[in-house]
């Protein structure tokens, strides 16, 4: 009887998952079909051809990628030492750090961008007029995810014990850093990098309001005149996010870092 009831329970769960799968997959398939401009004569790759030939496409893609790379560098340079220090030497300020990493939820991109635009009006043009101000904002957006990735990675490897074991065997702190800590942090670092990549490549709000030609801004621009082109770009964007996710999975494996890495993006 238990088996019978379990079978009924099973079908209910399966039903929900099937519905969910439909809701999530159908739009992607529809977008694909839409982008291929189905007519009575069949499918066309025109939309894709136009996009690929558009110089603005390559420029915006590359631009966003460049911003992503800078964002990753800034985030990691700031947060790797921070995460390490908090973990090893200053556990007391952990709540402070965690509060600071929750803050971007209270100050979403739409608010942050207003603050940056107004607050830094007095800065020189190479900062205010260039994309550096955008990168600076992106890093803030990335902090919660990057910190959590690194923190999870550190927690998973019990860095305290490893460091002490290494030191008791005679290692200097540089050895400890390069041979013990960084290799084990690799998963967390890569997760953080891929997360940031996905985040920046998809970011629209700050790019638009600061009037930069980011990839998402480009998609929005295309969408105003070419619906099929926008559909094609949406799929491309989705594919980029998938690649980043695969990167995270491969880097982090099944560890705690993987789970921390997967929560949410900015929209």
């Amino acid at each position: 009887m238990a088996a019978l009831r379990r079978r009924r329970f099973l079908t209910l769960g399966v039903l929900w998952l099937a519905l969910a799968a439909a809701y999530f997959v159908v739009p992607l398939l529809a977008t694909l079909k839409f982008s291929l401009q189905p007519t009575r004569e069949g499918y066309h790759l025109d939309a894709y051809r136009v996009i690929l030939q558009d110089p603005a496409f390559r420029q915006s893609l590359f631009f966003s990628f460049k911003l992503a790379v800078f964002t990753v560098i800034i985030s990691l340079v700031l947060l790797v030492p921070t995460a390490y220090w908090v973990h090893l030497k200053l556990p007391k300020i952990r709540p402070v750090i965690e509060f600071l990493t929750i803050l971007p939820f209270v100050i979403p991109p739409i608010v942050l961008v207003v603050g940056l635009l107004q607050g830094f009006r007095w800065t020189p043009t190479w900062f205010y007029g260039g994309y550096l101000i955008l990168v600076v904002g992106y890093a803030i957006l990335a902090f919660p995810y990057v910190y959590r990735s690194l923190d999870a990675g550190l927690r998973a490897i019990d860095i305290h014990t490893l460091s002490e074991a290494a030191q008791s065997l005679g290692a200097r702190w540089t050895t400890v850093l390069f041979r013990v800590i960084l290799p084990n942090l690799r998963a967390g670092l890569l997760s953080a990098a891929f997360l940031t990549l996905a985040l920046v490549m998809g970011e629209f709000t700050m790019g638009q309001l600061m009037q930069f030609p980011t990839f998402a801004v480009y998609i929005s621009y295309i969408g105003q005149t070419q619906a099929t082109g926008a559909a094609a770009l949406s799929l491309l964007s989705f594919a980029i996010t998938w690649v980043a996710m695969l990167g995270i999975l491969l880097a982090a494996g099944r560890g705690a870092g993987a789970r921390a890495a997967q929560v949410g993006g900015v929209h």
Binding site: M1, A2, A3, R5
Partner: protein, 356 residues
């Protein structure tokens, strides 16, 4: 007429046969333990009785009623799990009342009954505590009270003491037995700890690879193990592979030893002679060869076990034999000392030497 039966139950998980045509019969009010190593099927059998697994073949019968198709929430059994089974959002009292609440008893009835049971397990002062505020032993006592509150037909216990400290385990198992006897409830108990099973059960089923190797009262299990597995699993046992000789004796290596149990067996048959270390005595060997009917050798090691010290003697060309000597006198047997070991002919068990 047995009260609880598992009849010809078989259960498979993929390629693995967890239970192989197993039959248990429990009398009403009996405390019956299933004992064995991990994977022997004891927990599977319990879960089948509870209704959380269905047997591929066979039936579960309680008080004459076939319950095999009944869902677990209608079997009227009380189960105590190994750990973590108390509902975390309820106090101890609310946990105990839960089954009564489901059965729509009045608030007054629930309070009375819960109070009664918390008293029975000695926790009336902790009624308003939450599980996370209690120790492991206290939690298990609440779990027991909760299972008993509904006046179940059968009490099922799945290694309820495994997650507890050694000292708590000993006192709690005695309490469980006391309560079970007082209430006269039929109990089915699963454990891998043989001391636990032997100390509180009316009967024990020693299980191995999905089948019971022996079902008997504790003393019989210990003193007369039916198979080599039971002999090995329960207590420590000396195993001597010997050949049957004449007149109630065996030849072990180069020595003739008296073993009453081989009378009637054909001469020359290979048998397994089993002797408990506490039945083996050792004496220092002064000079010359060993006296007849005893094994001579050198002390290999001495392990202090508290009241006794287990002396392991290496007998040349014959193997090893362990003997328990009172620790006070164990000083005579240093490593390397020459000793002679012997046992009473009546204290040895004999089993067929199967090719295992």
């Amino acid at each position: 007429m047995p009260y609880l039966e598992l009849r010809d139950v078989t259960k498979r998980f993929g390629n693995v046969t967890a239970l192989d045509d197993v039959t248990f019969e429990l009398e009403q009010g009996e405390f019956f333990s299933m004992l064995g190593p991990s994977g022997c099927g004891k927990t599977t059998a319990l879960r089948i009785v509870a209704g959380f697994e269905s047997p591929d073949e066979g039936a579960v019968v309680v008080d004459g009623k076939d319950l095999t198709r009944t869902p677990p929430n209608r079997r009227d059994m009380g189960m105590v799990f190994q750990a973590y089974s108390l509902f975390p959002n309820m106090t101890a009292r609310q946990n105990v009342e839960f089954g009564l609440r489901i059965r729509k008893r009045s608030a007054e009835q629930r309070t009375d009954r819960a109070g009664e049971l918390l008293d029975l397990v000695g926790l009336s002062a902790q009624g308003d505590r939450y599980p996370y505020q209690m120790s492991g032993g206290q939690q298990q006592r609440v779990a027991l009270a909760r299972a008993l509150a509904i006046e179940p037909k059968v009490l099922l216990m799945d290694e309820p003491l495994s997650a507890l400290d050694a000292r708590v385990r000993v006192s709690l198992r005695e309490e469980i037995r006391r309560i079970q006897t007082e209430l006269g409830i039929t109990a089915l108990y699963v454990t891998h700890d043989q001391e636990e099973a032997l100390s509180i059960s009316d009967r024990v089923a020693v299980m191995n690879a999905g089948k019971p190797e022996q079902i008997a009262p504790p003393l019989e299990i210990y003193a007369e193990p039916a198979t080599p597995f039971v002999a090995e699993f329960v207590g420590t046992m000396n195993r001597l592979e010997a050949t049957v000789g004449d007149g109630g004796s065996v030849r072990y290596g180069g020595t003739q030893l008296g073993v009453d149990a081989v009378r009637g067996r054909p001469s020359g048959e290979r048998v397994l002679v089993l002797v408990r270390p506490e039945s083996v005595t050792v004496e220092p060997l002064s000079e010359g060869d060993a006296p007849a009917g005893a094994l001579s050798g050198r002390v290999l090691s001495g392990v202090f076990l508290g009241p006794v010290t287990r002396i392991k003697v290496e007998t040349p060309e014959q193997g090893q034999i362990s003997a328990d000597v009172p620790s006070a006198t164990a000083g005579r047997f240093n490593v390397g000392a020459s000793v002679v070991a012997r046992f009473d002919a009546a204290h040895a068990r004999v089993l067929d030497l199967t090719g295992e």
